[in-house]
Subunit: 344 residues, 2 copies
């Protein structure tokens, strides 16, 4: 097995900087679009066979050092009693958003090994298909990001409803997030039991909060997930965007690896995170829409700022965009692997 990804998570020296991409299975690939032409996003998430096929697509085409389970952050919402769907071109739509304490009263706890058994089955199938080639990353949504979808009813620009609940009814907010933290933590443990070799917690939208609000409203619930994963034996990644001002708080909440986006230079981000953690990032995904030479020189800049220090996993600052040329993703992975590390 290519072990550079897991070694980097543990800050052990590696022969080459490991690389994988958020949304490495996705609409930029013709073979993915072919499947999506016949199946909805939720169909793929709910079918272990389809999820396996799609998860493996980038592993066959791109020289990545890890596979990531094809799934969606929102899956745990449905068995909680928050059904949703994906509206073409508009992202997730939640039929009955959470707006009151009564809405929270109605929510159900669930056993992920039953309610989300299809995901665990997909993990087992993917592990078999990968046959030890590269490690498999599992993932889940962090409480803030999940709660924001559930409360706003979909994507939001200002998170006004989410923050209004947070500030106006902290008791309800904490109850909801505590529930989300417990469920996601247990779901992540179930993913590890099924075979994932690393877990990434996506707190994609938490960068809308400042440090004080993060500490009060998010920290205990996200920390709970990492605490629940502590005995699982697999490394964990803690990801967010726009987090320049809260990287230290996220580190304190947990994660062997902390994600940083392109808004902050990698070396500055690593300094804030601390040298006792690994770092993942941080190329702007829009650079993959640029001419090859600009993309590669920007990648070199990221690698240069990592200074060959063990513990850097190359990735984008957010997911691959649908209009990205496949050849650019391929060229980028090759380029990262060709980069000569100072310590080898």
């Amino acid at each position: 097995m290519k072990d550079r990804f897991l070694r980097a998570c543990r800050r052990e020296p590696v022969d080459r900087t490991p690389v994988w991409f958020m949304r490495q299975a996705g609409r930029y690939m013709p073979e993915y679009r072919e499947i999506r032409a016949r199946h909805s996003l939720l169909d793929i998430c709910r079918s272990p066979e389809l999820a396996t096929i799609v998860t493996l697509q980038p592993v066959r085409r791109i020289d990545v050092d890890a596979a990531i389970l094809f799934s969606d952050l929102l899956l745990p919402l449905e068995p909680m009693g928050i059904p949703f769907d994906f509206v073409r071109g508009e992202g997730p739509a939640i039929e009955n958003p959470i707006r009151s304490e009564a809405d929270i009263d109605r929510l159900k706890c669930f056993e992920p090994r039953e309610a989300l058994s299809h995901v665990l089955e997909a993990i087992r199938m993917i592990r078999k298909e990968l046959d030890g080639d590269v490690p498999l990353i599992g993932f889940g949504g962090a409480p803030f990001t999940l709660a924001s979808y559930a409360i706003e009813g979909g994507h939001s620009n200002n998170f006004a409803l989410t923050k209004a609940m947070m500030y106006s009814n902290p008791k309800a907010w904490h109850r909801f997030c505590d529930m989300l933290g417990s469920l996601v933590g247990e779901y992540m443990r179930a993913q590890v039991e099924a075979g994932v070799q690393c877990v990434q917690i996506f707190d994609s939208w938490v960068g809308t909060l400042n440090s004080a609000d993060y500490r009060e409203f998010v920290f205990p619930h996200t920390k709970k997930i990492f605490d629940l994963l502590e005995t699982s034996g697999v490394p964990t990644i803690h990801f967010g965007t726009g987090t320049a001002a809260i990287l230290r708080d996220q580190r304190d909440a947990g994660g062997d690896v902390i994600g940083a986006d392109w808004r902050i230079p990698l070396d500055e981000a690593w300094e804030r995170i601390g040298s006792d953690r690994a770092i993942q990032g941080n190329l702007d995904p829009t650079l993959l829409l640029a001419p090859l030479d600009r993309m590669l020189s920007a990648a070199d800049e990221v690698l240069r700022r990592a200074a060959g220090r063990p513990g850097h996993i190359f990735n984008l600052g957010h997911g691959i965009l649908p209009t990205t040329p496949v050849e650019h993703v391929q060229a980028l992975a090759h380029h990262v692997h060709r980069y000569r590390l100072a310590h080898v």
Copy 2:
């Protein structure tokens, strides 16, 4: 005239911290909604009488230390040859977005004193109506933010098309932004001639860039606006959101006052900006949806971090949200004025 706002812009001691709010004239006010029920947003912007009425509404109701011209950032796009409209609930929509060099070739320069004379007429009317009560702020969009609307065709989450042009065709990008910088600079000078006593440049979406890209693609064009304003004799404000990582670059581009949003504590932001500039901010606008005591204690925290140092203008980190209770805006302005400054 209440002069605390202009004094604070110049970092002179004030009796009370001056306060005004972005979007202080807006949908949260019943009297504004009444006018909007009969007139479109563009109708109001194009009618000096209506723009005057709406600009004055918050000055009559809320204890603010400045009025801000009611207008829209996008107005200069139309006379350049980029028509647009506002789609209810969806924000601006540009019919033919700028996507190629040929699109830029077709653009026209214009004389703001002719093409936007209705705005200048509104300024003269507002100054007359204000009768020296509070100073009047004019404003314009910064090249990056204006270009992003023109290229994306409206709001964007990832600015993929904008950055794709920036990276793939820097020549075209710089030509477009140079044109925007010159036109907005001249438009701002025309606003000053017509009577505005301060100018705020909105680079609302520039926080999506990192420092290196800001320096290469934005800095010279935004700087040009501030350079053009240098001899105008009025103080200037430079505003953006999500800018924790580029505050120093924005300061170098210009502005007597630099805006900071809620994601970074005010004192940290001021340290990055430097003590030779004033600062504006930085309460999270969603806090106005919170219970009064939480809103006020968060405001105290902002004031405390300003440490009574001359040069702080209290504002939100972005515009007032449409669902904000008017009484909260009133209470906040009163509260800021009651805060006892250390240096008086």
